[in-house]
């Protein structure tokens, strides 16, 4: 098992936010966490990367990555892990970039933090990654500021950065919800290519059940901090008897489906 989350509780201060959450993820698998806003999806994947904000803390259970308990890691060990073995894509990759720095300078700094290479080598690696993400003219993108790129391009830059060291586990927090439908389709396709090419395991947090169903092998439905329903895609879509899951599925608009007028 690549990642094992065993029965964890997560609290912010005194407030218990996620309760009894367990998940096992093998290599090359894609798992989705779906649910409404505030159901604790993001909290779970942030806990995996040790990025809980403020007073957030795992108060019960354990998270094992390749058999090692992540919760015992020292800050230095975390730093080693983040961005190389596990990386993350955020909802708006533009917001995580420093607006006063060009993409290239951030990218080179990131690569040189984790790998002992010269600036020129790091630059070339960056360009190569950007072009692999279907960004035309990577050199040009490296010389741009985040605000000069469109939302879809910024998201691709975020994915390119996250994939530079071919992580074993990719965590994606609503990677497409700020994008147009056409760009969303391109990004989804690219993320699936990553799995096929590199065997990367992916946990994707989304409220778009259509995207979740298309991408994942396994789905977890969350409600108010707890697992409401889980199973393989076929189970969740066709066999589940859970009312909440069925309600969520019914809410996805589909062509040729329910009409209100």
């Amino acid at each position: 098992m690549l990642l094992e989350i065993n029965d964890i509780d997560i609290s912010y201060g005194d407030k218990l936010t996620v309760q009894d959450f367990s998940l096992k993820l093998g290599e090359g698998k894609i798992c989705s966490l779906v649910g409404e806003s505030g159901s604790g999806k993001t909290t779970v994947i942030r806990a995996v990367l040790g990025l809980l904000p403020g007073a957030g803390k795992v108060t019960k259970g354990d998270i094992l990555f390749e058999g090692n308990s992540l919760l015992q890691y020292s800050p230095a060990q975390w730093r080693e892990l983040r961005g190389t073995d596990i990386s993350m894509i955020f909802q708006d990759s533009g917001a995580m970039m420093n607006p006063t720095k060009k993409i290239g300078s951030v990218f080179v700094e990131y690569i040189r933090t984790h790998k002992n290479v010269s600036k020129a080598e790091a630059w070339d690696m960056g360009v190569k990654m950007l072009e692999r993400m279907h960004l035309p003219n990577g050199d040009n993108v490296m010389r741009s500021y985040p605000f000069q790129l469109s939302g879809g391009m910024r998201q691709r830059v975020g994915i390119a950065m996250a994939m530079t060291f071919q992580p074993k586990l990719l965590l994606a927090d609503e990677p497409t919800s700020a994008l147009d439908v056409t760009t969303q389709a391109q990004i989804v396709r690219q993320m699936m290519e990553l799995r096929d090419e590199y065997g990367t395991s992916i946990i994707i947090v989304t409220h778009n059940l259509g995207v979740a169903a298309y991408m994942s092998d396994y789905l977890v439905v969350m409600k108010m901090g707890q697992i409401e329903d889980e199973g393989t895609r076929e189970h969740i879509l066709y066999e589940t008897e859970n009312e909440y899951t069925q309600k969520l599925l019914a809410a996805v608009p589909s062509v040729g489906g329910e009409r209100y007028v």
């Binding site: 806003s37 969303q184 778009n208 259509g210 298309y214 996805v252 009409r259």
Partner: protein
């Protein structure tokens, strides 16, 4: 498809150009002609930057077109000024994408939804409480919400308040700019159901901006697809499966649906639309179209009728004129 007597708003050949640095012009809307009918929803679909919001801003008189006219019950609203324009604003209201950003965080819900009524002297201050309650109940929220502040409510509840505010003046037209895209799917469904119900009760014309064809076909009557400032296809929402334009097909192909065939590869067009600053001559969609022909690079296609109430601007169908 629609009864001509229900026509409330007619946009005729509307063009909006912006002057940008370097003496260049950006054409956000190019010769757009659309109609809104009482009790019907027009869905305007397209990617970011295609000009759909610019067009709707013209309809709400937040901006004036460079060319063309917009007729509301026969009067050209682009020529209105001063008090006349202020009075006219009662008839066309708007709901924005982000309900948090469109409400004053220091005002209570009661004041937010009654402000338009007070502005036009429709109610006196003493009637505010009762009216707020009535409007909240109309959007299926408890009347006690009148005492809340926007931050005490969830996104879906805030969007309901925004709808109540838009309905307060009993407008003939409501423009909704991606009104549900900030909401969860389950909340989106209930808000859409509410909009459809209120439309029937009040016989309102709705202009709904959206980039999800799957959503708009579920409650729209007519769909207009826009690309780089041009309308490329218009069809009745029930006929969505008969859409013809390659761009509409691409949008259809990008819909993720829980009932889809998962072994099928997602077919979506690559890349992004070119900058509206240098639109190529000929068809605006040429560089992303897999059916692009020589003529597409030289001549811009015009709208031709390909079925009842179904028009498309594409050279593939230019031969079918006269349907």
């Amino acid at each position: 498809m629609f009864d001509e007597k229900d026509l409330v708003l007619e946009a005729k050949h509307v063009t909006r150009k912006f002057t940008v640095s370097g003496g260049r012009t950006l054409t956000a809307c190019n010769d757009v002609s659309l109609n809104l009918y009482r009790g019907k929803t027009l869905g305007l679909v397209g990617e970011s930057g295609c000009g759909k919001s610019t067009f709707m801003r013209l309809v709400v008189s937040l901006d004036t077109p460079t060319e063309g006219e917009i007729l509301f019950n026969g009067t050209d609203i682009t020529k209105l000024k001063g008090e006349q324009l202020r009075q006219h604003r009662q008839h066309i209201q708007m709901v924005f994408q982000d309900p948090t950003g469109s409400m004053n965080p220091k005002m209570k819900v009661r004041d937010i939804i009654c402000e338009p009524l007070l502005n036009f002297g429709r109610i006196s201050k003493s009637e505010k409480d009762a009216k707020a309650r009535e409007l909240l109940e109309m959007v299926e929220l408890p009347g006690e919400f009148a005492d809340r502040f926007p931050h005490n409510m969830s996104g879906g509840q805030r969007q309901r308040v925004a709808i109540a505010r838009a309905l307060a003046l009993e407008p003939e037209i409501i423009i909704m700019d991606e009104a549900t895209s900030a909401l969860d799917v389950s909340v989106q469904k209930t808000v859409i159901e509410l909009i459809a119900k209120l439309q029937k009760e009040h016989n309102i014309a709705i202009g709904f901006i959206c980039h999800d064809l799957g959503l708009i076909q579920s409650f729209g009557h007519e769909i207009a697809v826009m690309y780089l400032g041009n309308i490329v296809e218009m069809f009745p929402a029930v006929d969505i499966e008969q859409c013809k334009h390659p761009y509409t097909h691409a949008l259809m192909g990008a819909i993720f649906d829980t009932k889809m065939d998962f072994s099928k590869k997602i077919e979506s067009i690559e890349g992004e639309p070119p900058s509206p600053l240098d639109v190529p001559p000929g068809c605006p969609f040429q560089n992303r179209c897999d059916k692009c022909m020589d003529i597409c690079k030289q001549e811009k296609p015009t709208m031709v009728q390909v079925g009842p109430d179904h028009t498309v601007a594409c050279h593939l169908f230019s031969g079918e004129v006269g349907a």
